[in-house]
């Protein structure tokens, strides 16, 4: 059984689980929405200010939403010790992690797909002409978030205070990702939208570094 095939099977299981109850998706989307709305109360921005600060707001919302949903996502495997069942199965530990990463990516992608248009409407920011490039930036940024976040959820899953611990572990590590994602998004929201190649490359680099690290260290993350 190859890692890819096992991860695909596990991804199928994750999606099936989630779409039956949609509890993770619902709560994540609502939370991100609340952050987006609170922003207007905190800053009462003009449309110009919204374009200026919007990228920061969006990425804060997605980072926080991600940091909150990643632990419950992992906790699903701790419920009836199904993680043990997966560990006993003839699949590589990395396949288990990869399945989770892919699932978390899809859930956050759905959240973003809903929140970005909502943001555009609420703050009168036009997305005309930049959608494709915006999706690109969102994808690479979210990938970095779920790769690191899934790994850290596996780590904090064994600790006390795990729901609070995960954001503490994750957010500082993601600071460079956030800078890159916000900058890349900002250059898309500018008067002359452009995909900043420096930041886009940085995002890709970040993803590669942490993906490789999680692949190399996966055995230690999944063991008892």
């Amino acid at each position: 059984m190859t890692t890819a095939r096992a991860a695909a099977i596990l991804l199928g299981k994750e999606l099936r689980l989630e779409f039956r109850t949609r509890e993770l998706l619902n709560t994540t989307i609502i939370f991100a929405l609340i952050v987006v709305v609170l922003f207007s109360f905190a800053f009462d921005p003009t449309p110009a200010e919204s374009r200026h600060y919007g990228p920061g707001l969006l990425w804060i919302a997605f980072l926080f939403a991600g940091a909150l949903m990643l632990q419950p996502s992992f906790a699903r495997e701790q419920l009836n010790d199904t993680l043990d069942a997966l560990r006993m199965a003839p699949v590589k530990p990395f396949a288990i992690l990869l399945g989770k990463m892919l699932a978390n990516f899809i859930f956050l992608a759905i959240t973003e797909a809903i929140l970005v248009p909502v943001f555009a409407v609420l703050y009168n920011v036009s997305l005309y002409g930049i959608i494709g490039r915006l999706i690109f930036v969102l994808a690479f940024g979210t990938a970095g978030l779920v790769i690191t976040g899934t790994v850290f959820a596996a780590i904090s899953g064994h600790a006390r205070m795990r729901e609070l611990l995960l954001p503490i572990l994750l957010l500082p590590v993601l600071a460079p990702l956030m800078i890159a994602a916000v900058e890349a998004t900002s250059s898309l929201f500018a008067d002359q939208p452009a995909l900043d190649s420096v930041w886009a490359s940085f995002l890709a680099g970040f993803d590669v570094v942490f993906f490789t690290a999680s692949w190399l260290l996966s055995d230690y993350l999944v063991e008892e």
Partner: protein, 248 residues
Amino acid sequence: MKLHAGIAILVVALVIFSGYAALFIAPDEATMHEVQRIFYFHVASWTAMFIAFSVALIANISYLRTRRPKWDWLGVSGAEVGVICCTVGLVTGPLWAKPVWGIWWTWDARLTTTFLLWLLYISYLLLRGLIEDPARRATLSAVFGIFAFLDVPLVYVSNRLWRTQHPQPVVFGGPNAGLDATMAKVLMISIVAIVAVTILLLAQRYRLERLRHELDELRFAVEERATAAEVQRATAPITTPDYSKGRV
């Protein structure tokens, strides 16, 4: 023991001497005058921090490869001592900056990276505090330590790129640029002194961890003896089932 005492005394002497040198031997700096003298300890503490965190990284990797507890002890020692050095640096920096440049802090690349480094290793220590089982604690914190370390260059690069686009006032510009000869010597002495203290602290912290471990082992051995004695009294001999004695 004598050797330890001797080394400790030597290090203390070195620190006192470097303090004296910083305050009295080093020449007065042209623009900043007295306040500038903090620079000797500020830079030294960064060097010490770098060494401590490097030790922590090596320990983390070694633990994962060998699973020997001593690497875990070294890892936590490196992290804790590194956090102390980092704190010293982060505190002396603003103390120096305010009178000289008028601001406590700026989010330039180096400072931001250092602050984040501090946060990362604080998180490492927090994580350790929240995991009970020693083996699991060692493994998971080692993995996190490696991830945290991988993040540091990324933090620095991203901040540099960011600040070239959105400049902020840069303070502490190149301390070694155009340094007066005596100042350079005093700096070297300071660095050696502070690094010596750091290594001493590291060694002591490692020893503390090792002693804690030994204490646990001793407790465990004592309890084992007690249990074994109890089991001896209470149970039938191991190899021959003897049903005439009835159940245990």
